[in-house]
Amino acid sequence: MINIDAHNHVKGKSIYLDDIQEIHGTLYALPFDATVAHAKIKSIDLESALKTKGIVTILKAKDIPGQNQIGGIFPDEPLLADGEVHFRGQVIAIIVGTTEHHCRVAAKRIKVVYDELPVITDPREAQKQNQLIMPPRQFRLGDTTSAWSQCDYIFEGRSDVNGQEHLYIETQGAYARPKEDGSIIVSSSTQGPTAVQRMVAQVLGIPMHKVEIDTVRLGGGFGGKEDQATPWAVMVALAAQHLHKPVKMSMHRMDDMRMTGKRHPYSADFKIGLTKDLKILAYEVTHYQNAGAAADLSPAVMERTLFHSTNAYYIPNVIAKAYSCKTNLPPNTAFRGFGGPQGKFAIEAAIVKAAESLGVSPAEIQKANLVKEGDELSYGQILTQVEAQNAWETCMKNYDYESQKQRVAEFNSKNTRFKKGLAIQPICFGISFTNTMMNHARALVHIYHDGSVVVSTGGVEMGQGLNTKMLQIVVETFGINASKVRIESTNTLRVANTSPTAASAGADLNGKALQMACNALLERLKAVAQKEFTDQIIELKDEMVFANEVKTELTWKDLVLRAFTQRVALTENAHYATPTIHYDKTKEKGHPFAYHVYGTAIHEVTVDCLKGTYDFDSVNIVHDFGKSMNPTIDNGQIEGGLVQGMGWMTLEEIIYNDQGRLVSNALSTYKVPDIYSVPKVINIQHLETEGHELAIKKSKAVGEPPLMYGIGAYFAIRNAIKAFNPNADLAVNAPYTPEKVLMDLYKKS
């Protein structure tokens, strides 16, 4: 089934936040932010700004009736800076005016005097100064100390990987309208309506039942609107509460880039030990996560880094440690993969370091250590239904990797200026929120007595095709046409206490709840039909009732009407909580994931060794979808995730200067892949597997895993550089921008 939104998208009829029709008298809010990264605020002079044409009010911390606090995990983040600022882009005041332009004019007239304090931007420096978001955490398996003595080879090294701007094409935004009795509705471009609701209530000092959050769809999220859609929604709500008027904010791109957090940069030290037959016997890694100035989701991101610190490899002796380091940058946040990619990057760097030192291909080490059925990971989960080797071998065989390798070697022997590089990237990614309590969802289904159906879940549509998958569940359960079903906006009045749409789990959690709701309604409808067709097996398909597999005269519509007249409930609300998962943080052991997703990708790149530029010739993938319930949408997630991951590894370079100023602060200086930067060929094959019972319709979660195929792009480029400059000692420091490529091509050995 094609994405159900596609028709409206191509006609320009889909409604995003800034497309909502404004109520007459709507005001505009503009966040006013700090221009230094760390300082005490000595004074704020609003006088001239307040006199600016069109300005209605300017709100500061003291205007907050509830708590000035929006920290989700730890209460360490004020909505509006109060007395001091901890990063450039931290919001100090909210300017409200009749037009956005007036607010921008006023912003230039606000004068803030700062007493500047030292700025830290480097996570290792923060760790040295004990500037930590929380105490470090450590996962441990086996005994590395005794394992080192059994290793034939031991290598140590360091890897660095930069952050990534989400660059959802729709910027952050929200629109608040006061309702009666002090309650409020906020339309928010958020992945987490409940998180927004909670913070609006907390800051405004009202109970959650007075706050309605509504989300139709997002123009891209990628994690950037999981936690960081919240401040803007709270700001417009605060202004609307003050002024009793509708207030809207739709952020300017440069404001958005400057004020919001990104994927976490990480630095890591690793030590890897192998036996003669290339089995990895021991691995120790210490991660330094650059969290930014407040916790945001960093503790959870750090946790997922630890969970993925050995990627798809079985290593019997592991110590994985991580520090969440507090720096004077905007608080970094969720981004597709959520720390997992950084964990994987470090182990791949360690394997490459070992391979290069031993003069073997990294692929030999990767292959020799892939996880197998029954292997235990560092956090105690025993793997079942493992497809790592199956995916690897299928990928090698189906794409004839041996021939590709020969062809590349031959090319490199004949060419000076152009060199090709290959890299293989296996993945193993755990599905579930690592915080067990978040793995639940609800769905609300109404069947109206004309036979039409409306569905609400806690899931947010952001292009991933969630609504299409939800519709498929309804249509298949009831045997009715898609035109009978409408998937409604995500709204906290209809579905409460939701987890954000994140962790790739949106379809599994909401879909399972929806399946339960639909099945309950189906049973009630069947019972109504059963009264006429006694002792016969009732089925619903093609909008008709079938009795003992024979089509009856009774239509879906008539059945629904009959149920209604018989006073049968045509509404169902179902609750689903993932079974089997648990985790004990005190022991750092448990079974946090419902299942894992596997796959393997082969990258081929050509580097122009004169200019340091590169083109990707192909990426060939074998992916474990389980039984994909929508191959069109799922393949789209693979292609899009891969390219986003490749962007992170190649072009996308976040640059802060040492004073915490974002230098790559616009699309002119921060480059995401365009149509010419993507691989010439992307092949995707579906691995034939049984799927997993805990995946919706056995169709495995697909949002985040493919991003991590992108890591292979980095190492493919490295291998091409090595073909040109074999003896240089190269750092591992992503992204591989053309600058770093050229410098490495000509680095003296």
Binding site: I2, N3, D5, A6, H7, N8, H9, V10, K11, G12, K13, D18, Q21, H101, R104, L167, Y168, I169, E170, T171, L218, G219, G220, F222, S250, R253, R417, M462, G463, L610, K611, G612, T632, N635, G636, E639, G640, G641, L642, V643, Q644, E653, V663, A666, L667, S668, T669, K671, V672, P673, D674, I675, Y676, S677, V678, I682, P738, E739, L742, M743
Partner: protein, 465 residues
């Protein structure tokens, strides 16, 4: 009052001429299909089509509405995604995007639909490569582009049947555009041709000014040059080419004379920004912007370009482009002068090369760019002009390096010696586009690339490195 046709409707507005077309479309006209992604021409979410009469026929270009002042659409036909919708079904571009799953979150989609529809309207010999080129200014963060490429291929296949004698009728009959498009030519002819948005600050396409000074332009008194008849035209006299100041990059990219003289002309200009920007960005604007890495400026420096500066009294004077830049964004230009003409020597075939490296190969600003015009007398360099950008406060004509090359034998040694000298002419700084060290290395590599590209038989990479 500004008037133009917006989709199928005449609009007349008293809004300031400097208002961006994007804001007008979205908030005055409430057409919300056109999206705001970046407001600096770098994402394409706000792409619209602009049609104007050329020799009596409506000709369409794609353009970023975020950088287009209302003045520049006076008397034209502006098409948003709503104006491409058919009453009963999807148009062919939309259908291809749906069939190939070229849309995920959908926010960038109207921009893609517009760009691809622009291709349908303008293409004469459609190829997939050209169709993809038409969407080179559109950024998508969801799909990874492969599905969009497939949609472009599907559209191209249909367009191979396009009747080039009656293109518009064919496009209407084959559900590419709604039938009101057939009425546009007649309606455009009804507009008065007088164009009178004059003011103080000269502005061409607006592609730089609206990025740099978006907020201030609200209240500025601007002199809109883009559509002034006397400022448009390309004239060839011998080996001299004369450009009027409002000539755009797109006007030049498919110019037959230049394509003939410089075989890689299209390939070079393809490295400059994106289709919707090239469609409205003027050559004079690139020069007057004075960016140290202005691509076209670098090209023109090597082609010995001369500027004509004209003041309000219409008195002109000439200045060599290489003498025009006095320092960072300061010029040999009086406040009331505009660049009215640019004259340059068209290099003989095989004598010109342009190199540009940036983070992203397309739609990006150079870390270093460089151009060279060189001619040989047997194996001796008879003439050489080398320019380089990103290596100092101004776009640089490399006087000493150019002079050094003249009279030397074309050998790897000469090139290496010249490169040593070249480094003394550079003063790059570390910034978002690279460290000083990188820019120096890149300058060397691209200088070598000129010779490797132009003289593959004589100068080989192995002899230079």
């Amino acid at each position: 009052m500004i008037q133009f046709i917006l989709n199928n409707r005449l609009v007349q507005t008293d809004r300031a001429a400097s208002t961006t077309l994007l804001d007008f479309i979205r908030y005055d006209e409430n057409l919300r299909g056109t999206k705001i992604g970046c407001r600096e021409g770098d994402c394409g979410a706000c792409t619209v089509l602009i049609g104007s009469l050329k020799e009596g026929k409506a000709q369409y270009i794609s353009a970023t509405s975020c950088l287009t002042p209302l003045a520049n659409v006076y008397g034209k036909h502006v098409v948003t995604v709503e104006g491409l919708n058919l009453p009963e079904k999807l148009n062919q571009v939309q259908q291809a995007m749906v069939d190939c799953s070229g849309t995920q979150c959908g926010f960038c989609t109207p921009g893609f639909v517009n760009s691809m529809s622009g291709f349908a309207l303008t293409c004469s010999e459609p190829t997939v490569e050209k169709a993809i080129s038409a969407i080179d200014g559109n950024i998508c963060r969801c799909t990874g582009y492969k599905t969009i490429e497939r949609a472009a291929a599907k559209v191209t296949e249909q367009l191979l049947q396009k009747d080039q004698k009656n293109p518009l009728s064919w496009l209407v009959a084959n559900s590419f555009v709604p039938d009101y498009f057939l009425t546009i030519e007649e309606r455009l002819k009804e507009f008065q041709s007088d164009y009178s948005f004059t003011g103080q600050i000269p502005i061409g396409g607006g592609t730089d000014l609206y990025v740099q000074k978006h907020d201030e332009l609200h209240d500025m008194d601007m002199d809109y040059l883009f559509d002034k008849k006397e400022l448009n035209g390309i004239i060839f006299e011998g080996n001299q080419c004369k450009l009027k100041s409002s000539v755009t990059v797109s006007d030049l990219i498919e110019n037959e004379t230049l394509l003939h003289a410089i075989p890689n002309w299209y390939k070079y200009l393809k490295l400059l920004s994106s289709t919707p920007i090239r469609n409205i960005a003027t050559i004079a604007g690139n020069i007057a912007n004075g960016s140290p890495i202005g691509d076209f400026t670098i090209i023109l420096l090597a082609m010995k370009a001369q500027l004509t500066l004209t003041n309000k009294e219409n008195v002109g004077r000439k200045v060599m482009l290489k003498d025009f830049y006095l320092g960072y964004k300061t010029f040999d230009k009086k406040k009331d002068e505009i660049i009215s003409e640019i004259t340059f020597e068209v290099p003989a075939s095989g004598k010109f090369n342009f190199e540009k490296v940036c983070k992203r190969q397309y739609l990006d600003i150079a870390s270093v760019n460089t151009a060279m015009v060189v001619s040989l007398n047997r194996n001796t360099i008879a003439d050489a002009d080398v320019s380089m950008g990103g290596v100092g406060p101004i776009p640089k004509y490399l006087t000493e390096t150019s002079a050094f090359l003249i009279g030397k034998e074309l050998t790897a040694t000469t090139v290496k010696e010249a490169e040593q000298l070249l480094q003394t002419e550079l003063a790059p700084i570390s910034d978002a586009r690279g460290t000083e060290e990188y820019k120096r290395l890149l300058a060397r590599q691209l200088f070598f690339a000129h010779f490797i590209t132009l003289f593959p038989e004589t100068i080989k990479i192995d002899n230079l490195l």
